[in-house]
């Protein structure tokens, strides 16, 4: 829901928008460079990473089918897999480029900052171009003076994964 008056205005924000933007661009660079172990370090121990299906953007992993619903352990497993030369869909590795924009801090409560941003992720491999377009929702916290991700959801605007075939990269 679009709100002209941001919810956080009554609360002292934990992060400034430019701090959040710097963080998101850094994260995108880690993923584009396949520095996946460093990327994993950005998460809290109770973090989740969710990608809903294209027909149900509001999908709730507790009761609906989603594409991805990783806790930190499974996310670690996903990274171990992606680094293997037996992850056939990503070996040889694809080239990716992420564009993040429309970054907004939409709420802040109990030390958790809610952020939304638009993304385009282009994946190139085996003669194919796969554009992933959608919206990120993040819950960010500050621990040990670093920004950490507590919740990361990539909601796709695509109607189907026609031509993409899979979400084999981290979105």
């Amino acid at each position: 829901m679009i709100s002209m008056v941001e919810k956080h205005t009554s609360v002292q924000p934990v992060f400034t928008r430019s701090e959040v933007e710097d963080f998101l661009y850094y994260e995108a660079a880690l993923l584009d460079d396949w520095r996946l172990d460093e990327w994993l370090d950005l998460f809290t121990e109770d973090a989740v990473y969710i990608v809903p299906t294209t027909d149900l953007p509001e999908g709730d992993p507790a009761k609906d089918l989603v594409f991805i619903n990783d806790d930190v352990v499974q996310l670690r497993g996903r990274v171990i897999r992606l680094k293997s030369r037996h992850a056939h869909r990503e070996y040889p590795r694809s080239r990716t480029r992420r564009f993040i924009s429309n970054v907004r801090i939409i709420g802040c409560a109990a030390g958790v900052t809610d952020v939304e941003a638009s993304f385009q992720v282009y994946r190139y491999r085996s003669g194919s171009t796969d554009p992933f377009v959608g919206q990120y929702s993040y819950q960010l916290v500050r621990t040990d003076d670093r920004i950490r991700i507590k919740h990361r959801r990539a909601t796709l605007d695509l109607e189907t994964l026609r031509n993409h075939g899979a979400v084999s990269i981290i979105l």
Binding site: T54, R81, S126, R162, G165
Partner: protein
């Protein structure tokens, strides 16, 4: 696999003369609920009318052809065509049109109801259509495979039955659709293609402090062929939410799993009760519906060719209505870890199929599916694929039924030989894992 002409023939001779899956009745809980479905290129509305009856209607106005239903899913009392505002109720009847006086005296609205495919039938709530008005009924068409469907459907009897959950995985594979038929019940590819997934499972089991001594590989398995091109593979492996315990689950979850198994045995007897609870079933219902009830959950996967080298895939997951929340989350965790476009396994299948399709550009004419012809076929053999191809070949030659569906004469039973020692060994293993 590489010919557009063969693909055109397939649509007419194979798809238009088969039963094709549309949806399950549990997707339409309320009167007026509908789902748009495209079946062999035809836009259809799968809908429950206000009278409670499930119907399949052509999504095309009987006036000038525009699609009357323009949302993928929803609930409606009626559909008004946006072109000339003809209105149809949710049972397909034409109930209104502007300026009816403009038509001749004999104009009868009843003749302008939305049409349906020539045949619409269901088996255990699974609705199928056929564009061949003379096709045998769905029960005859499914034949002995009904036994397998029954085992799965009955297995959730004690849990309120199965229903289709919201959210469908829709993706495509740049490969001929028949490659996904082969892949859907191919036990031989598991180790090379899904090494990273199997490593993940071992790694995750290792995290629980358990000493992993087995690979989680099936205890027993077999593949089978059935008349009309159906076929599949059966295997017994840990981690079925109905109802084989898994070392990855908590003791409490495993206790509940064993309770469900005991309940199934009580309701359906030792033989069927154990088969439905312990055996995983990967079945291809000819020509394009994968019915998979395994340790990674229960799902349907349907696929249609868009061209001879591109297919669209749709995946639905089903869960028991009254399954305990922790068991449900174990089930979905298993499902998502392996299956679907974001899983740790399916993307590599997509890669393999696209790689085959690319390889066919060499012009080499044959794939080899002779594996297991000399023995009682295991799940890593290819009998099930031969069953499909024999039927496909017969239909392409405009014969209704393959002369031979199996390599040899068999008893036709789908029951797997289960060792009675399995209970004890498994429980001991679980206890030692937890102690």
């Amino acid at each position: 696999m590489t010919s557009g002409e063969i693909f055109d023939l397939e649509r007419r001779r194979v798809f238009d003369r088969s039963w094709l899956y549309v949806g399950h009745e549990t997707e339409l809980a309320e009167p007026g609920e509908y789902r748009r479905r495209t079946v062999n290129g035809r836009p259809l509305i799968f809908i429950r009318g206000s009278d409670g009856q499930v119907r399949v209607l052509n999504n095309s106005c009987t006036h000038r052809g525009a699609q009357v239903c323009r949302h993928d899913q929803g609930q409606a009392k009626s559909f008004q065509c946006f072109y000339h505002a003809w209105t149809f109720d949710n049972q397909g009847e034409l109930v209104g049109l502007p300026d009816e006086e403009g038509y001749a005296k004999g104009f009868d609205k009843r003749q302008y109801a939305l049409k349906s495919p020539p045949r619409v039938e269901q088996y255990r709530g699974f609705y199928f259509v056929s564009f061949d008005k003379d096709i045998a009924d769905i029960a005859t068409y499914l034949g002995s495979v009904r036994e397998i469907i029954d085992l799965t459907m009955d297995s959730a009897d004690a849990l309120g039955g199965w229903y289709v959950i919201r959210g469908t995985a829709k993706y495509s594979i740049k490969a001929n659709w028949k490659l996904l038929v082969e892949n859907s019940y191919d036990g031989y590819h598991l180790l090379p293609v899904h090494k990273t997934f199997l490593d993940y499972v071992s790694w995750r089991r290792g995290l629980t402090g358990e000493k992993v001594t087995d690979s989680g590989a099936p205890l027993v398995s077999r593949s089978f062929a059935a008349p009309h091109g159906h076929g599949g593979m059966l295997h017994q492996a840990p981690g079925r939410a109905i109802a084989n315990p898994s070392p990855l689950w908590t003791e409490d979850v495993n206790k509940e799993v064993l309770r469900i198994r005991a309940e199934n045995i009580k309701r359906f007897g030792e033989l069927r009760g154990r088969q439905m609870s312990e055996v995983s079933r990967h079945v291809m219902i000819f020509p394009n519906l994968a019915f998979q009830d395994s340790q990674t959950g229960f799902r349907l996967r349907q696929f249609y060719p868009v061209t001879h080298e591109l297919m669209d895939v749709t995946q639905w997951d089903l869960v028991p209505r009254d399954e305990r929340a922790d068991l449900r989350s174990s089930r979905m965790e298993n499902s998502l870890a392996f299956l679907g476009p974001g899983g740790l396994a399916t993307p590599d299948d997509v890669e393999a199929l696209e790689s085959c399709q690319d390889g066919f550009a060499t012009g080499d004419e044959w794939s080899d599916i002779s594996r297991g012809m000399q023995r009682e076929p295991k799940m890593t053999d290819e009998l099930q694929m031969r069953s499909f191809w024999r039927q496909w070949h017969a239909m392409m030659l405009e014969s209704n039924e393959a002369v031979q569906t199996d390599d040899r004469k068999r008893d036709g039973s789908f029951f797997l030989e289960l060792g009675t020692a399995h209970y004890g060994a498994e429980n001991t293993a679980l206890q030692s894992a937890r102690s």
